[in-house]
């Protein structure tokens, strides 16, 4: 059985994957400022509004952390935002605040750079989005995913539960502050064990509001390495193998001969899940 090697270079590239974003206000919402203005923001977690060229969000991060930056900036401009039910849409479709930003972008099918989304402070779409998009709620959802990943991977959540409170908090904080080393100082305890591997933490997204796919996927095939193509053939035999569809993660098309254990170690998001989008092939 192959032992997946942690690839520090790839892992760092995944962590550092950034998306240029342009956030505009909803012109139908009245604000303290009367004109709808394009607010071009730098979302580097050390915010500053200098240059149009430097506005990026981390693909592994979450929209409530972006909202936190927005609130800082508006407060700095002495603009009071009372309503904290902030939500975003892309072309009219509300964006799920508990999904990583890179996943949202790839799911949207947008090829825009920067990604043009609209922020709203009113009329929170309760039927389409989970309520209360605070940073605390996003952190809770993130930790829930970490525990799910732990349970899938090893059959118990003891690795996450055995972390000190400080270490557990450090996972989220280092994500929100973009501190790769601090994140991995803790996360290495959660994923480096190669004994007792059970199932791959994996979610698959099809277009058009299809239900999210989460199936039981073992790491190996009778002791030998399992490839991404094998996994997709098990779960979506009508699409793999064929030339109809391709798997995408972090904006890249993944080769079907990628070993699934290597992908899980190195291409997962900060929540330790592989999030794969299935797109129609353009042939």
């Amino acid at each position: 059985m192959s032992v997946a090697v942690f690839d520090d270079i790839i892992s760092k590239k995944i962590w550092n994957g950034k998306l240029p974003i342009q956030i505009s206000l909803d012109p139908t919402e009245n604000h303290a400022f009367t004109e709808p203005i394009f607010v071009i923001l730098t979302l580097f977690f050390s915010y500053s509004c200098n240059s149009i060229d430097n506005m990026e969000a981390s693909r592994c991060s979450y929209l409530p952390l972006v909202s936190e930056q927005l609130l800082h900036i508006y407060n700095g401009l002495d603009i009071e935002i009372i309503n904290t039910e902030i939500w975003y849409d892309y072309e009219g479709e509300p964006l799920k605040w508990h999904y990583p930003i890179g996943l949202l972008y790839d799911m949207s099918g947008s090829k825009d750079r920067p990604w043009q989304i609209t922020v709203h402070f009113r009329n929170f779409p309760n039927e389409k989005l989970l309520k209360s998009p605070s940073v605390e709620a996003a952190q809770d959802m993130f930790m829930s995913m970490m525990k799910q990943a732990d349970f899938l991977r090893y059959g118990t959540t003891k690795r996450v539960m055995n972390l000190s409170k400080k270490d557990q908090s450090q996972l989220w904080e280092s994500l929100s502050l973009d501190r790769y080393d601090e994140y991995w100082n803790v996360n290495q305890y959660l994923i480096s064990d190669t004994d007792g591997l059970r199932y791959v933490p994996l979610r698959i997204y099809l277009p058009d509001q299809c239900p999210v796919i989460q199936e039981v996927v073992s790491f190996t095939n009778k002791g030998s390495s399992k490839l991404l193509g094998d996994v997709l053939n098990d779960i979506l035999p009508d699409l793999f193998p064929s030339n109809l569809a391709i798997p995408i993660t972090h904006g890249i098309q993944l080769p079907l001969d990628t070993p699934i254990d290597w992908a899980s170690q190195n291409l997962s998001f900060a929540d330790n899940f592989l999030h794969l989008i299935i797109c129609k092939s353009v042939s």
């Binding site: 799920k96 508990h98 989970l130 809770d140 959802m141 930790m143 829930s144 525990k147 799910q148 349970f151 899938l152 959540t157 539960m161 557990q168 199932y199 099809l206 277009p207 058009d208 509001q209 299809c210 239900p211 999210v212 796919i213 989460q214 199936e215 039981v216 979506l236 009508d238 699409l239 064929s242 109809l244 569809a245 129609k280 092939s281």
Partner: protein
Amino acid sequence: MSTTEESLSKELDANLPNTNESLQKSFEQVIESRKQKDTSKVVVRFRAIGNAPILKQNFYKITASNKFQTVIQFLRKELRYQGSDPLFLYINSAFAPAPDEIVGSLFKSFNTDGQLIINYSTMAAWG
């Protein structure tokens, strides 16, 4: 090619089925079939933690395609809880799934001996 070969070739092209269309579903067709709701049922077992009220019946069958939100609302109704009464639900005493996660997926990934164990409490237990 000779003219007979050419005309035969054209005739074959016109009459042979297009393999892509007839033998294989299109991408869109596969997506449509994935949208079909899974009407199978999965067994869910509720377990009270701490001071949470105990249900008379704690096994239920729930349709796999339901979101976890449905389970939350169902339990609240069974306990006759008002909207503001705190109630926290966990899977396997470990984590609280997002309300939009699908019961069928949770069952596949986390069931123990054919039951999805859902712990509930009136206070936050496992974060």
